[in-house]
């Protein structure tokens, strides 16, 4: 192949030249070029190497169906492999490389694989290395070598430096594709007053009109396109999105679209995302995605220089590039004539037009005769010759089903048209099964039971003018469906050629052994299809998996129909009965970054901060994630590490006083005349009798009797409760309460509202807690008599109103002080000013955990969705005088089994040993399997001076009293003998919290 830039023509900007690199060499092109057109113009023939056999490959098409010119674009972290050169918009400084070749695509040592091709047919890896006596071990041995020799380009392993984003849009009508049908459909919908989005995967609107020569009525295609595009761009109801691919249609009129925002820019503005994911909700969708031309499977039909006929035409008319100097056009339908005429008009010598049929369409035949292009009827291409590019083509005479090889024709371009396949992908996404049409030799979109309309060539309509009518009809159908006034749609019939297609799927000639490719991207040949059939892969879906036909980025665009036709022939049944594989999104590849959008890095998930977040950080807190919350983990002093700091903090709490941010606790306002009755039904214990100004610990169950969550309930007034939940279950509990009120008990006059964000909370814990509060809290009598354990009072702190409850998670004398969130920092500062002089500390999540384990309080680790009240030793809380959720099913016999795992405490027999959460508790005589239980929480106890833990073990303390268990930890490789003890290690009588 020896392409060159034509002296005139095309939609490129010849006044400007842009430089780019390919495989280390410098070339020039023009704005409006694709990488493929610029490479062709520069005479570059070999652009890549094939997947399995390392055969030289050139540009085969002019669109997203490209199977040969797959290249790597960019370098470093921006290296993007397996990019179709035909879909890359050229820009100044673009750098691309051929791939899957060494040292280069022009001379590739890997091509030696071609010599062994008979040993590596379809599915060879399934049988050559896996069989009796070889097994998995052999496969593991060879897998690495196979993977290394196969495949395509390599992605960068560096972090992606680009940003991506998602955007949402709504419209009345989404039009996928901007060819003649798409433009007309969009205009019809806009004229009916509808909001329209037009998405076009190319960088220019117009689809095939960008190179079409067939007039539209009395207009040239270019003039017609310009008028329509201008009209759409003028309309404030229409959004035109070039460089945007509708890659999938989903439920409810949702379309997924990928916009390539900066891929075409030499110096992208850093604030712009590279790609944008559009999630469009459309009331009506018009699929005007056109059709893809097919190749013909003849010998060496993958040689650089063998190209789809319409692609060669596109390069000449759109890009001003001759794809070769002497062409042969081979066709089985009318469209090849238009290609031959346009190539000749562009200045390319057309040596012959081969038509597999015995007649020519009248008009084009006369035109060819006038130009001087010889037409050879009943003639097909047999084999291309030439090592790195086509040098000549052997043709054959078709006699019935047989082909007899005939003469050779010197040429460097073979332009092939094996018929057209409507792009049925998007329709298929909506469950429409393609239907084979014998007269068109194509799979057509099947019926769709949704507001999705297929128009133009995607509906098998071949003539440009008919496509326009089809688009207008689709637009009108959409408008009428939305209640707008629009003319009665007139749908043109599919087809439109003068003479029927006589499909040529494959050209087989006795004694001609050259490979005939069906799917060049995956190196699948016609022989592979037959082999698969002989080996029993008779279904289209099985054939695909076995041969890889139509897999990966190709998704069956070029070769699927040919492969199915050959399979049908081998099976002796019609193509319609053979069926096709299922097309699934995405239509073309979507970068992972696009799907992630801005949800990566610091925005991988939203961060939740307490009102005192800044205050903690200013005091040196080391923060940690607790769900979405950022919480102080510990406050190191003088180079302390975690282990040292939290022990110091916990000891200070037990010995003096500590302050801890508890703003993250879930907080729910439960209000209304029936609030007390509602809480009685939700919690296992009662609340309607709780006095105002008092709080009570409560546990709620799921319907199945398993513990859902625990917390405290503060009664603020007769009809006003303040409920706290665990940090982790706040959202779950709120949703549960709302569900109950809306579905089970709508008659209750209760309103539940999340107030977690309204209140900032600090726990003040330790023997000196009352002293600290006394220094800063106003309007509350803090004496034990006036403010006993589980009392709630309103007061003021730092000039702000506050709500104080005397509660204890640590087991010490303790209070929780709540203020409206915007006063959180002021409250903290005031409390700290009082606590610091008396040796108080700030303590974080680690010390909080240590204190609660010492007291045996359960938390999320124990409330894990498997434990019951009795498992946790809380069975006594359950009321027997009222019904509550979970009360029936908690009494199931299974939950009363004596061997259920129940909460216990553990301490290592050797007090110097360390415990690990997650270890399996086993009987010493049987350290194996799932054991007898597991360790849920552990800590080094600052109070006791050794490690302690909470665990759940079969039969609980009664079964294990005075017995030793083994905390087996096969993951971390340590087994520790532990004593099973009661799960309260410090102050089991609770005297301190009443202090």
């Amino acid at each position: 192949m020896s392409g060159w830039r034509l002296d005139e023509g095309g939609l490129i900007d010849r006044s400007r030249t842009i430089g780019f690199g390919f495989d280390g060499r410098r070339y020039q092109g023009h704005p409006g070029d694709t990488l493929a057109s610029a490479l062709l113009a520069a005479g570059v023939g070999i652009v890549g190497r094939s997947f399995k056999y390392h055969r030289p490959r050139g540009v085969m098409s002019a669109g997203v169906e490209e199977a040969g010119a797959l290249v790597t674009v960019g370098a470093g972290a921006r290296r993007d492999p397996n990019v179709r050169a035909t879909a890359v918009e050229l820009f100044d400084g673009l750098e691309a490389h051929g791939q899957h070749a060494w040292p280069s695509v022009r001379f590739d040592l890997g091509a030696i694989a071609g010599l062994f091709s008979r040993f590596i047919p379809a599915g060879f890896y399934y049988k050559t290395f896996m069989g009796p006596g070889r097994g998995t071990g052999a496969w593991m041995l060879y897998e690495r070598a196979i993977r290394r020799s196969a495949g395509m380009g390599a992605a960068s392993r560096e972090p992606d430096p680009d940003t991506y984003e998602t955007t949402h849009a709504h419209c009345d009508v989404l039009v996928a594709g901007s060819g003649p049908a798409g433009l007309e459909a969009a205009l019809a919908a806009a004229e009916a007053g509808l909001r329209v989005i037009v998405a076009e995967q190319d960088f220019a609107l117009g689809g095939a009109l960008l190179w079409e020569s067939e007039p539209v009525g009395e207009n040239s295609p270019a003039d017609w396109r310009s008028a329509r595009v201008e009209a759409l761009q003028r309309s404030d109801r229409v959004t035109c999105l070039p460089r945007t691919t509708v890659f999938g249609l989903y439920d409810g009129g949702v379309a997924g679209m990928l916009e390539r925002v900066t891929d075409h820019l030499a110096e992208p503005w850093p604030d712009l995302p590279r790609h944008r994911l559009w999630i469009v909700r459309a009331k009506q969708t018009i699929v005007a995605t056109g059709a893809l031309e097919r190749t013909i499977a003849f010998g060496n039909n993958d040689r650089p220089g063998v190209m789809l006929a319409d692609a060669a035409r596109s390069y000449a008319r759109r890009f001003g590039v001759a794809a070769g100097r002497r062409a042969v056009v081979a066709t089985d339908n009318d469209s090849g004539y238009r290609a031959a005429i346009d190539l000749a008009r562009a200045g390319i010598e057309v040596a012959a037009l081969l038509d597999s049929r015995e007649r020519s369409p009248e008009g084009p035949a006369a035109e060819l005769k006038r130009i001087g292009i010889p037409v050879r009827h009943g003639t097909v291409p047999v084999q291309a010759a030439g090592r790195a590019a086509v040098r000549r083509l052997r043709v054959g005479r078709r006699t019935g089903r047989q082909v007899r090889a005939a003469d050779w024709i010197e040429c460097d371009l073979v332009a092939v048209s094996g018929g057209w396949s409507p792009v049925v992908h998007l329709a298929s996404h909506r469950g429409s099964r393609p239907v084979y049409d014998d007269s068109l030799a194509a799979f057509m979109p099947g019926p769709i039971d949704e507001p999705v309309h297929v128009a133009g060539a995607a509906a098998g309509i071949w003539r440009v003018e008919d496509c326009v009518h089809s688009g207008r009809a689709a637009g009108n159908i959409a408008a009428r469906a939305l209640g707008r006034s629009a003319p009665e749609p007139e749908l043109p019939s599919p087809g439109g050629w003068s003479l029927a297609i006589r499909p040529v799927w494959e050209v087989r000639v006795d004694g001609q052994g050259a490979k005939r490719f069906v799917d060049p991207q995956n190196d699948v040949t016609t022989a592979d299809i037959r082999l698969a059939h002989r080996e029993g892969f008779a279904s289209a879906e099985h054939l695909k998996r076995y041969t890889t036909l139509g897999m990966a980025a190709d998704q069956g665009k070029v070769g699927n129909v040919i492969g199915l036709a050959i399979l049908a022939e081998a099976a002796g049944r019609p193509i319609a009965e053979t069926g096709t594989t299922t097309f699934r999104p995405p239509y073309t590849p979507v970068t992972l970054g696009t799907l992630a959008g801005r949800g990566c890095g610091p925005h991988f998930r939203p961060t939740r901060r307490t009102p005192m977040d800044r205050w903690h950080r200013q005091r040196g807190a080391v923060m940690t994630d607790a769900g979405l919350w950022q919480r102080p983990w510990y406050y190191p002093r003088d180079g302390e590490d975690l282990a040292t700091a939290y022990v110091r903090e916990a000891r200070a709490v037990r010995g003096g006083v500590g302050l801890c941010d508890v703003s993250t606790l879930g907080k729910i306002a439960v209000q209304g005349p029936d609030a007390g009755a509602f809480l009685d039904r939700v919690y296992v214990n009662g609340f309607s009798g709780l006095a105002a100004g008092r709080a009570r610990y409560g546990v709620m169950l799921r319907d199945d009797g398993i513990v859902m969550d625990d917390g405290t309930v503060w009664r603020l007034a007769e009809t006003d409760f303040f409920v706290t939940t665990t940090t982790a279950n706040a959202a779950t509990v709120l949703a549960w309460l709302e569900e109950l009120l809306e579905t089970r008990w709508p008659e209750l006059r209760v309103c539940v509202t999340a107030v977690t964000e309204q209140w900032a909370g600090m726990a003040v814990a330790g023997p000196r807690a009352r002293d600290v509060l006394a220094a800063v809290i106003e309007e509350i009598d803090l004496s034990d008599a006036a403010f006993p354990f589980m009392a709630v009072r309103d007061g003021r702190v730092a000039g702000a109103p506050c709500r104080v409850a005397r509660l204890s998670f640590s087991g010490e004398l303790a209070y929780e002080v709540m203020v409206p969130a915007d006063h959180g920092e002021a409250m903290c500062a005031a409390l700290w000013r009082a606590a610091e002089p008396v040796g108080g500390v700030l303590y974080g999540l680690e010390a909080l955990g240590a204190l609660r384990i010492e007291k045996g309080h359960v938390a999320g680790q124990e409330l894990d969705g498997r434990t019951t009240l009795d498992d946790l030793g809380l069975g006594g809380m359950a009321s027997s005088s009222k019904p509550f959720i979970g009360d029936v099913l908690r009494k199931r016999p299974e939950f009363a089994r004596p061997d259920r795992q129940r909460l216990v405490g553990i301490v290592p027999v050797d007090r110097a040993r360390t415990l690990h959460a997650g270890a399996i508790l086993c009987a010493p005589e049987k350290v194996a399997g799932h054991g007898e239980g597991w360790v849920s929480s552990v800590t080094f106890s600052p109070e006791l001076g050794h490690w302690i833990g909470l665990a759940l073990i079969s039969g609980g303390l009664e079964a294990w009293r005075d017995r030793i268990a083994v905390a087996a930890d096969p993951v971390r490789g340590s087994d520790v003998e532990v004593e099973i003890v009661a799960p309260r290690f410090v102050d089991p009588e609770g005297s301190r919290l009443h202090g």
Partner: protein
């Protein structure tokens, strides 16, 4: 009364950011101390509560579902079937709204629970749709419309004030959402106003 902090203290630096030849596409400001205060009704008292709140604010009509109406003394929005939010209200109106007997409804001060980011400018809608799956076109989301929705997995409320939008973000997520909005808005050019 003690001064109030904001979750965005120190993070809203007034100025212009990003490139915008024709002026900023988006204008941000934090709006402080505008509520919300919540009033919930019971099914039997819904109409009475709506009328009472409209009267307190001076609004001429009662708000429909997911709609806000404004009067000289405040704005009242119906954010759930039986729940209203009062915003931009004076102290007297708030005091009266909060004073409701339990047989009629319940009241709750949520004025510290949300950080309110005002988003205006010609590209405000585009910015919001980068995260919100709402149809914000004037026909579908006209002035006065109120929505409970999700932005980057965070439950937020959005009010179309006509001249722009007020985004009510849970206080704890405010900084995270602000950073996301700011980064996204850079492509439009944006201004932060004090």
């Amino acid at each position: 009364m003690a001064e109030r902090d904001s979750a965005l203290d120190g993070h809203l630096q007034p100025g212009r950011y990003g490139e915008a030849a024709d002026g900023p596409g988006v204008v941000f400001a934090e709006i402080r101390d505008i509520g919300p205060w919540q009033v919930a009704a019971w099914p039997q008292t819904l109409a009475a509560v709506a009328v009472r709140l409209a009267a307190l604010t001076g609004a001429e009509t009662v708000p429909g579902p997911l709609q806000a109406v404004a009067g000289p003394n405040g704005t009242v929005a119906r954010i759930r079937p039986l729940v209203f939010w009062l915003t931009h209200a004076g102290e007297a109106a708030v005091t009266q709204a909060m004073d409701i007997d339990a047989e009629t409804g319940s009241a709750l001060d949520l004025s510290h629970s949300r950080t309110v980011i005002r988003i205006e400018g010609p590209r405000a809608r585009d910015l919001l749709n980068r995260g919100l799956p709402l149809d914000l076109s004037p026909d579908a989301f006209p002035a006065g419309a109120f929505a409970a929705t999700a932005l980057h997995q965070v439950g937020v409320h959005l009010h179309n004030r006509g001249s722009g939008y007020d985004l009510f973000v849970p206080r704890g997520f405010a900084l995270s959402i602000w950073e996301l909005l700011r980064e996204t808005a850079a492509q439009f050019g944006y201004e932060v106003r004090a």
